[in-house]
Symmetry: C2
Subunit: 301 residues, 2 copies
């Protein structure tokens, strides 16, 4: 066990899952949670997976923790850091789970102390549900957690790596900048596109919402799952990873415009060429254990 006592700041889907996993896999003796929401705190107490829950204030918990993990939406990382860091004990480790890294590092920086170490992290895991009831201990299993340490060769980075591996994750290390462009591609822009398409379908005057619901099994329903993710978190992500998001979106619009043109000019060859190359990536994702090979996600079972 690398950390005896852990404080989770924000007991939502990811925070509550870390708490559950740390206990389930014996990666912490004591797990405290603090959350600003009264409803969330009540749920966490009722579910009983934490050793202590505190609404709003967490000075005592912070002073006891060997590891503090900020699990709030990206836009609230700064204020959470401001509140927690002054109470942390000397030598403790601070981390987070933000889906963007550059902006979180910037937001936390003004409140940092020399005697604690900040190791930013991002577990690439989640579901479309939010809140403490939605979490579960196995959510990180076989998924990747990316650490973006600010300094090289820190022992704290190794400790945090051991913690994430201990709760089932694979761990990789990269710079914050690289993280933000990679995740813009594999996560942020896919979410933006899903949100957009669901909105477009709902707004089509010629097609009723009822029809959209009835005939969603033709592909649309998969987009609605992604677009059901926490709106506040995603607003924060897009604003905080603005440049990389816009870069990837622009490339996407370019490519879509090219395919649109191929459709308009009945250029079947260009379409087929493009469509054929996408199957290989799917196979590699399944081979890498990052998705289920069950047809249709096993929906017919």
């Amino acid at each position: 066990m690398t950390f005896n006592t852990i404080l989770i700041v924000g007991g939502g889907l990811i925070g509550s899952s870390i708490a559950r996993a740390a206990k389930a896999y014996g990666q912490a003796k004591t797990v405290y949670i603090t959350d600003n929401s009264h409803t969330a705190c009540s749920a966490i107490e009722r579910l009983g997976f934490a050793d202590g829950v505190s609404e709003g204030q967490a000075d005592y918990f912070a002073s006891q923790a060997d590891l503090v993990i900020l699990c709030v939406p990206p836009g609230r990382m700064g204020s959470a850091a401001e509140k927690i860091i002054p109470n942390m004990k000397s030598g403790a480790v601070l981390s987070d789970v933000g889906s963007i890294k550059g902006a979180v590092i910037e937001a936390v920086a003004p409140f940092m102390r020399d005697d604690i170490t900040f190791v930013p992290a991002h577990p690439i895991a989640g579901t479309e549900y939010s809140g403490p009831e939605a979490g579960f201990a196995e959510i990180f299993k076989d998924r990747w957690c990316v650490l973006t340490p600010i300094k090289k060769g820190l022992s704290e980075t190794k400790d945090l790596k051991a913690f994430w591996q201990g709760i089932g994750s694979q761990v990789s290390i990269m710079t914050p900048k690289r993280h933000d462009i990679v995740l813009a591609t594999t996560s942020h822009v896919p979410h933006l596109i899903a949100y957009t398409l669901v909105g477009t379908a709902v707004d089509m005057e010629r097609v009723t919402d009822n029809e959209v619901v009835k005939y969603s099994a033709g592909g649309f329903r998969d987009f609605t799952r992604i677009a059901a993710s926490d709106p506040v978190m995603w607003r924060d992500v897009f604003l905080a990873n603005r440049e990389a998001t816009l870069e990837v979106v622009d490339r996407f619009i370019e490519d879509l415009t090219a395919l649109k043109r191929a459709i308009r000019w009945e250029d079947g060859e260009t379409l087929l060429e493009h469509f054929a190359k996408t199957r290989d990536i799917r196979r590699r994702i399944v081979d890498a254990g990052q998705d289920s090979a069950e047809p249709n996600f096993g929906r017919h079972d």
Copy 2:
């Protein structure tokens, strides 16, 4: 049982599923399949779900069938109709499973006979896999099958409706034109977007394919599943439903551009407003039994 003998033309995912379902649910006494591919015919024989398999020629089967269903890609509907219709027996019903209706009706029209009735159909069901091995009898259960009859009030439409209901489908009836705009929204454009995004990610020079695979669980992997669908079929769909596809794509690009602008100008309110309205549609799709409520499609099980 409405039809004693059925001929399936094209034993791929959908054709082989209809054959399996017709037998499993007692909706046909005899099911014949014809397919142009030698590999497919061998697989169908080995799997043993048809009463007869024929490679290429199917004159005898066609002459026996009370119902012939064309299950070939949209671009091959015309040539399949040309080959099969002359051999069909008088009074038989012809149908299809094309994802577009206007273009299929046009393609079949030149070969129609007065003594057989064509009732176009489109079952909104499928997986990302292709070929006879991929089919299964339960694929149509609770999904919708849309019939787009050319004439109102035909008894053959009622018969085909009974057949689809008999193999587990819900059935709705609309005009071909309406079908094509509705499906452009709920199926065709979602597929085009998924194909495009997967291509964009693969082509990003700043992000390696290996990174795309590793970090795909952040949303990207769902797009790769849709983009793994049969490329030939989808090329045909986009070309055959050109106008409706382009109409919806243009709306989508408009909406994406508006959200892009909101990101650039850090207009969090516009983003949040847009994202919040998409959750309701998700709930309605789950309530309507058109998708699983399992978080993350139950991938953690």
